[in-house]
Subunit: 203 residues, 2 copies
């Protein structure tokens, strides 16, 4: 039975472990590596190790960082009255891209999902209430979890945790997405847009 | 302006160099790497380097191999009367999977493509005619290039090179693919299937 040389088979198998990479893509990538310049392959291998080694979670907000505390937590320019709770570091990047939010963050690294057996103890919530109390200027906690069952459950849980704290707890608005088409909006989106309707300023 | 930590940005940029990997996929893969176990990341990095270092082209057939000559060229069990010319090592794997072919190979690592400025000198054809003369038992050269403009041009070129040699030159049949649907076959496939029709054995 014919098979590829051992080190190629191994490379394909290890590429296949990556999320969203099936056998065909892994094979295509592996063949590309074989024909790529040696120093380019070395650069990729080094980057994998370096990123994995250097990047850690900020001990305050748990966002990814290469220094602790992270640049957002330690910046004097951030508004310490607001703290935004998000699922992942990618959500921090998305929020930052809006250029509208200048407050702090708290990254959960997951959402509560009873179906997948993920409870609040799996998220970065251990010292969350303590942190909220310690942020002296804090006035508002914005829960920015996904508008999904898991995001809703997580928002609800965090809301209850903060019930007795002296902060306003808010959640991102849900409704029609910009550029969307009402005709094609699903019922849940549409009914949330309806119940969240706001007064049109027409005076 | 917010941006990811340096080593993460670098990893994303280097993953983006891979074929078919855009910014979104590179970001997704990089975040996976950050959360992957350290030894797993090391295994992947090692595999990249090892495959690139160990795998070479067989000096006889130019297929990928970790020993020279490769296992097919040096096997006493292969039928040395037949030699199959293919574009790439992946085509060797495809031919071997059929379990029908037990001959030798010659891997071109490309196809002639005037539009992309790829001429025969870019392919592994330097010593091809010499090799054909040296294979003493050789009776037939099967050209198994793709049924495409480039595959046709390459087959034509190789055919002319072998014009004066004492071997039969054949090419893989073109026609309807197994399980295909005549109604949806394109005109070229259908007209090739028609001109390549064979007598039905109904006696």
């Amino acid at each position: 039975m014919y098979s590829y040389p051992g080190s190629l088979k191994k490379l394909i198998a290890r590429l296949e472990r990556l999320p969203g990479i099936g056998e065909k893509t892994a094979t295509r990538l592996a063949f590309h590596i074989l024909e790529e310049r040696q120093e380019r392959v070395k650069e990729l291998a080094d980057s994998l190790l370096e990123a994995r080694r250097e990047i850690q979670y900020c001990s305050k907000c748990h966002n990814i960082t290469d220094e602790d505390p992270c640049r957002i937590c330690s910046s004097p320019d951030r508004h310490r009255e607001m703290l935004c709770v998000v699922e992942s570091p990618r959500d921090v990047a998305a929020m930052e891209k809006t250029d509208e939010y200048r407050g702090l963050y708290h990254v959960l690294h997951g959402l509560i999902s009873p179906l997948d057996d993920i409870g609040p103890e799996e998220l970065y919530l251990d010292n969350f209430v303590e942190r909220i109390r310690n942020e002296e200027k804090l006035e508002e906690v914005i829960i920015a979890t996904d508008p999904s069952t898991e995001g809703d459950a997580t928002a609800m849980y965090i809301g209850r945790q903060l019930e007795d704290e002296d902060v306003n707890v808010t959640r991102l608005a849900q409704g029609l997405p910009a550029g969307g088409d009402l005709e094609y909006a699903d019922e849940v989106t549409l009914s949330r847009a309806l119940s969240g309707r706001s007064k049109l300023d027409n005076k």
